[in-house]
Symmetry: C2
Subunit: 485 residues, 2 copies
C-alpha cells in the first residue's frame, strides 16, 4: 500500500542525500539517454491512464474528460523535452578558439556549455493534478536538464501523487536512471526541510502568492541562497476596445464567460478583469448572460478562500454585482460577475485588482479608450494580458504597456489554455512569478535548471561531449562568435 503520510525530517535528509548522490550520474547521461528515460516515464503514465484518472477524479472533483486531456498534456510534455534534449540548443554550446589576434589581447581556448544545477525541489500545484504536479512541467524540465527532483506533493491529491510517483520512479529505474533521481515527499514541513537542505540547488513552485513568497523567502535567506522559480498569482486583465465591443459584443461576452468560469475559475490564467467601454452596453449583456451551473471547487480550503475573497469584493463600496448564480454563498460555487468604473478602480486598485481564485471576474467600465494604457500601468506583473480589438484599432501603446507588465500578450483570444510549444511564455514580473526572466511552460522552461561552465585550454578528453571539436552530439554551437546549426 502506497503511503501518503508526512515525510519525516530524517527521511527528507535521506531522500535529498540520495538525490545528490544520483546527480552526477544523471547529469552525465547523454541527452539522448535522458530523452529515452523521459519517454519511458511518459509511456508508463499513459499505460496507467485509467487508474490515474480515476484517482484524480476522486481527489479533485475534476471531470474525467478534463483529466484525460491533462494527462495527455503531461506525457506530451515529457516527450517534447526529449526532443529538446536531442536537438541540443538548450546547451548553448559556445567555442572560442585560442586567438593571438583577439582585439583585446590574445585569448585562450574557451568553451562554454550549460550543465545541470543539481537537485531541485518542486512544489506541486493543486489545480492541475497532472500537468503541474508530480510528473508535470517543472519535473519534466528539471529532469531533462539533468537535475534530480524531490517532489513535494500537493495535499489536494495525495493518493494520486503517491501512485504517480511510484510509476515515475519505476519507469526511470527501468530506463537505467540512477536510484534517487526522483522521489515524492509529503507535508509542508518536509517541503520546507527539502528547500533548506544544503544539497538542494533550486526550487520551483506553482500556487498562491502567499505560499510562493514564503518559499521564495526561505530559498533567498539560506546561508547559500538558491534560485526559486515561483509561478504565483495573476488577474490576467483583458481590454475590450470600443470597436471590438461594437462589432462582436456577443462573441466577447460568451468567450469571457467561458474563460473565467472554465475549470470553476481555478486557472492561473483566468481573466479576472475585463475593461469594457461604458457606452457599449457590454455590462448589460453580461448581466443577462447565461452563466454555467455551480460546481464544486478542488478542495474545501480553496472554496473557503474563494467565499471569503468574493465577499470582500461584493462588499466593496465601489463594486456592484452584475450577475450571479443561484447559490452564491454556499458550496458548490456559482459564477459571479462584478462591476465597477475605471474611476473607482483607479482609487482602489490594490483592493480590486487582487486575485480572486474561483469563478468570479470584475468588469471595469471606462469612458475613453485613451485611458487604457494608463489603466494597464496601474496593474502589477501578470502572466497574461489580452486585447480584444478590431482590425482598424491603433492600440500600439496599449500592447506596449501590456508587454511591460505580462509574460504573454494575446489578441482576440482568451488566456485560459496555455499551449506547450517552443515559443510559449508562462511567466511574468512579480507577483506573477518570482523570476521574470523564466517560463514554467514550453520548451524554454529547461533553462531554469542549468548553469554555464566554461573550460579554458581543456584537453579534449576532459571536455563535455558538446564541446569536443568534432561535435559528436551534433548540437548547434556558436563557434568564434558565429552560430552554426
Amino acid at each position: 500500500m502506497t503511503t501518503t503520510a508526512e515525510t519525516t525530517q530524517a527521511d527528507v535528509d535521506r531522500i535529498v542525500g540520495t538525490a545528490a548522490a544520483a546527480a552526477p550520474a544523471w547529469g552525465a547521461l547523454t541527452p539522448a539517454a535522458r530523452a529515452e528515460a523521459l519517454g519511458a516515464v511518459a509511456d508508463a503514465l499513459d499505460a496507467a491512464g485509467p487508474e490515474l484518472v480515476g484517482l484524480a477524479a476522486e481527489e479533485t472533483h475534476l471531470p474525467e474528460a478534463r483529466l484525460k486531456g491533462e494527462l495527455f498534456r503531461t506525457t506530451f510534455q515529457l516527450r517534447l523535452f526529449g526532443e529538446v534534449l536531442t536537438e541540443g540548443s538548450y546547451l548553448d554550446a559556445r567555442i572560442d578558439h585560442a586567438d593571438a589576434d583577439w582585439p583585446m589581447g590574445a585569448r585562450p581556448d574557451l568553451r562554454r556549455v550549460n550543465e545541470p544545477l543539481g537537485p531541485v525541489v518542486v512544489f506541486a500545484a493543486s489545480n492541475f493534478p497532472f500537468a503541474f504536479s508530480v510528473a508535470g512541467g517543472d519535473t519534466a524540465s528539471a529532469l531533462a536538464a539533468g537535475c534530480p527532483v524531490i517532489l513535494k506533493a500537493h495535499p489536494g491529491h495525495p493518493r494520486l501523487s503517491a501512485r504517480t510517483g511510484e510509476i515515475v520512479v519505476e519507469a526511470l529505474r527501468g530506463a537505467g536512471a540512477p536510484d534517487g533521481v526522483f522521489a515524492v515527499v509529503f507535508g509542508q514541513d518536509a517541503g520546507t526541510a527539502a528547500l533548506e537542505h544544503p544539497a538542494v540547488r533550486a526550487g520551483a513552485f506553482t500556487g498562491s502568492i502567499g505560499g510562493g513568497r514564503a518559499l521564495f523567502d526561505i530559498a533567498s535567506a539560506r546561508p547559500e541562497p538558491i534560485p526559486f522559480y515561483g509561478e504565483m498569482g495573476s488577474v490576467n486583465p483583458t481590454f475590450v476596445t470600443p470597436a471590438a465591443a461594437a462589432a462582436r459584443p456577443d462573441e466577447i461576452v460568451t468567450g469571457f464567460v467561458g474563460s473565467f468560469t472554465m475549470g470553476v475559475g481555478q486557472f492561473c490564467t483566468k481573466p479576472g478583469l475585463l475593461f469594457v467601454p461604458a457606452a457599449a452596453g457590454l455590462a448589460d449583456r453580461l448581466a443577462a448572460a447565461s452563466l454555467p451551473a455551480a460546481a464544486p471547487m478542488l478542495n474545501d480550503r480553496l472554496h473557503g478562500g474563494y467565499v471569503e475573497r468574493l465577499a470582500e469584493l461584493r462588499d466593496h463600496a465601489a463594486v456592484r454585482v452584475l450577475a450571479e448564480g443561484a447559490d452564491p454563498a454556499g458550496s458548490p460555487t456559482s459564477p459571479t460577475v462584478l462591476a465597477t468604473t475605471a474611476e473607482q478602480f483607479r482609487g482602489a486598485v490594490d483592493e480590486l485588482a487582487a486575485e480572486c481564485f474561483g469563478p468570479t471576474a470584475l468588469v471595469i467600465e471606462y469612458d475613453d479608450a485613451a485611458e487604457l494604457p494608463a489603466l494597464a500601468e496601474l496593474l502589477e506583473g501578470q502572466l497574461t494580458a489580452t486585447v480584444q480589438g478590431s482590425e482598424d484599432d491603433d492600440v500600439a501603446d496599449l500592447v506596449d504597456a501590456l508587454a511591460g507588465k505580462a509574460g504573454r500578450v494575446l489578441w482576440n483570444g482568451w488566456p485560459t489554455g496555455v499551449s506547450v510549444t517552443h515559443a510559449q511564455q508562462h511567466g511574468g514580473p512579480y507577483p506573477a512569478t518570482t523570476a521574470p526572466g523564466t517560463t514554467s511552460v514550453g520548451t524554454a522552461a529547461i533553462s531554469r535548471f542549468l548553469r554555464p561552465v566554461a573550460y579554458q585550454d581543456m584537453p579534449e578528453r576532459f571536455l563535455p561531449a558538446a564541446l569536443r571539436e568534432n561535435n559528436p552530439l551534433g548540437v548547434p554551437r556558436r563557434v568564434d562568435g558565429v552560430l552554426e546549426v
Copy 2:
C-alpha cells in the same frame, strides 16, 4: 566642477524616475541604434583616455600601463556588445505558427522574444576602475539589453566615476538616447535607496561577499523582489598533479607567484589556494621564490582588511609561513605565501578557505592525488578552478568535481586574466555569485537584463520587429521548433 557629493534621497527619486521614463524609448530603439550609441560611448572614452587614466592613477594607485589596458578592455567591451545587438541571437526570437494538428491540441500563433527588464542599478567595483565600474561590463550589458542604468559609484575612485559618468551621459545624448538613460549616484545610502526604488527592475554588483549579500537581501526582501546579480568572492583553487609538479616545478612556481601577486592580489580570480603533492618539494621552491616588491593596495580600507585577514591566517595553528616580503605588517603590502597540509585543511576548511583579498595564498600539501576530488568537494562555489596537469594524467573525476563548483575550469593556465569573449563564463555557485546561471563577463552577460514576452495571435503591426514574419532585423530565430540562422 563635477560633484562627488553623496546623492540625496530626493535626487535618487528624481534620477530613478527619469530612468524609468526613458526606459520605453531606449528599449524601443532598434538594436542597431543602441549599438551605435554604445560605440559613441566607447569613442568618447577613448578620446578622453589620457585624462581618465590620469584620474584613475591618482585615485587607485594602479600603474598607468594597467589602467590604459583596462580602459581599452572597457571600450572593446562596449563595441562587442554592439556586435551582439546587431547579430541578434540575444533576442532568442521564437515563432510557432498556428497549427491545428499540434499533437497536444490546436495551438495559436505564438511568438516570443526577449525584451528589456527596465531600469537597473549597478554597483561599481573598487578593483577595476574602468572595466567593472562606471562604463564597465554590467553597464555595457544592461544598456545593450535596452535597460537604463543607475550607476552607484565606488568610493575608491569618486572623481574618475563622476568624470566617466559625464562622458557617458554626453555621448549617449549625442547618439540620440533619451535623457536619463544613464546616471551616476554617490554614497551607500543612495545605492540602497535606488535598489529599493519600486521602478528599479534588477541590480548588479561586483565586490565583497558581505557587501553583495547585504544588497542581495535588500533586493530579495522588497515588496516586489528583483533579480540581483552579485559577483562576489572566490579563492580560485588550483590543483597541481604529481606529474605536473615533477615535470614543470619552476614554471608552476613562477606562474603561481605571478598570478596571486598580480595587481597586488586584488583580483577576484586570484588563485588563493594551491594544492601540491607533498613529496614534490614545491613548498621548498616557493619558500625560496623571489616575490615581487611590496606595493600599495587600492585604498586604506582594503589594506586594513588584508592586514587583519592575513593575521588571522598567520596565527592559525594549522598554518605556517612559507615566504613573506620584507614589510609584512605595514603599508605598502608585501606578498606572503602560507602553507598547511591536506589533513589540517580538512579540519578547518571554513577558516582556511575563506578569501583573503590581497597578495597572499595558501599552499596545501597533499599525500595522494586520489584525495583531490574529495578535497575539491569541500570547497564553496568558485569563479574559477584550475588543474595544473600533464598529458598523461587521468583527472576526469577532478575536472568533473571542479565543474560542479566553479564557473570556469582551467587547464595549465592561471585564473587571473578574464578574456571578454562569447564563450567566457565569469560566475559560479554561491558565494562566487548570487545567480549561478549567469555571467558578468562575456557576451552572455546581456541575458541578465532581459525577460521573454510571448505574443499570441498578434497582428503584425503590433509585433516587435524581431517577430515579424519577414524577419526585418535578420536575426536568428527558432521557427516551428527549427533554429534558422
